[in-house]
């Protein structure tokens, strides 16, 4: 099960480009394309939004947390950075992070912490794929305290494309097929690792 999160939506349009490129619209169309490709590979896909609505961070997390064995991928477009590149983020550990010795009840705000290592692994696999497809992208993922990822109780990553500063939105839309293929391949590689970890 893959939960695809097209960031922003509704009144929150996200990043705006000078030529009218709007992050919330681009990521929704990228998510739809990725969904098609992942379903073609036999995976079940759930999206956190279908249209121009704006679920809260917690509602998006709840969509993932309600699934068994999900992975969560949040899609973004940046305001800055070299055009045509993609960066993958896993969550940076918060201060006072949970250890394995913590009791079994997991605070909502720290839901991601037990999954930090598997999220980092997933981020590596996706970043390697994206670096091959989008020249200039980093070869290793980054860690950042991305708010959306913090409350997801599953392996979770954010992918950010550069950028809304492109002249034409079609430049970002054209990244969709390669994104979908990269995510599908990375998920296929991640799957045995994830399932092994659960045994």
């Amino acid at each position: 099960m893959v939960v695809l999160d097209a960031a922003h939506g509704g009144a929150d349009a996200g990043a705006h480009g000078a030529t009218g490129v709007v992050e919330s619209e681009v990521v929704l169309s990228l998510a739809r394309l990725a969904r098609f490709e992942l379903e073609r590979q036999g995976l079940r896909v759930v999206m956190t939004r279908q249209g121009n609505e704006n679920p809260s961070f917690d509602e998006r997390s709840a969509t993932a947390n309600a699934q068994r064995g999900a992975i969560f991928i949040s899609l973004h477009v940046s305001s800055t950075g070299p055009a045509g590149t993609a960066r993958v983020y896993s969550v940076a550990m918060r201060s006072g992070a949970l250890s394995a010795a913590q009791p079994s009840l997991l605070p909502w705000d720290q839901a991601q912490e037990p999954y930090a290592e598997s999220s980092r692994r997933l981020a590596e696999l996706v970043q390697i794929q994206l670096a091959q497809k989008f020249r200039g992208s980093p070869e290793v993922p980054s860690a950042a305290p991305v708010r959306q990822l913090r409350t997801v109780a599953a392996p979770a990553i954010a992918i950010e494309f550069s950028s809304v500063a492109v002249q034409d939105r079609s430049q970002l839309d054209a990244m969709g097929p390669a994104l979908a293929e990269a995510v599908a391949r990375a998920v296929a590689t991640f799957r045995p690792f994830y399932e092994e970890g659960a045994k």
Binding site: M1, A7, H8, D12, G14, A15, H16, E23, L43, R44, F57, N65, Q67, R68, G69, A70, I71, H76, V77, S78, S79, T80, G81, P82, R87, Y89, R94, S95, S99, A100, A101, S104, L105, L106, W108, D109, A111, P114, Y115, E117, S118, R121, S142, A144, P145, V146, R147, Q148, R150, A153, A154, A158, E160, S162, S163, R191, E195, E196, G197, A198
Partner: protein, 227 residues
Amino acid sequence: MSRRVKIAIAVLVVAVVIGAFYFPKLRQRVLRMSRPERTEEQARREVVQPPIATPTDVKVKAKIFWASPVAAGALEPVEIELPLSADAVQRSKQLINALIADAPSPEQRTLPADATLLEFYLLADGIAVADFSDTLSTETPSGILSEQMTVDSIARTLAANVEAVRRLKILIHGQEVETLAGHLDLSDFFPVRAEAKPPAPASPAAPGGKAPASGLTPPGAPGKLGH
């Protein structure tokens, strides 16, 4: 050579001489006029945030972290001479104000030009609380990369120049906010200086990213990718 040609040449020579004196001044005026934003911005800053001077100020070479002009998405330290206070709070304020106001170029900015540091507190355990105006949130370009560069530039500038700061908390207009500009989580502290870690607990971490049983995910359920 006729008299008229001689007069024309003389007029041209005079015009060239006058031009030679006048052109540099004209150029300076044009350059000044081409930077209205900088002038307005400076004027605003002088009203809103006058420069901080303390009796213990000493001119030192401070390392300020701005965006790299060559490596996209990276920060780069720039050494500039600044009068810095011996008092850690005043020193931190001086550094953050320099980070906002003295970027070598607009492209290297990591904080919006109109952002204002409203207050800065330093607790005994090295926790710094920086309270910024709303502008930090509303004018930082939205995106994980840009928001992370904003926070990193503050944290790394403090780390390089203020010994006492260990961790950083960012407030917007006195309030804790969920994100900086839609992405980066501001609810927690950002590490500034590595702290000595206590020995790790004996219990091993979940191997291979194995998810422990939790109240959110039923035991045994995670890790199986559904079809």
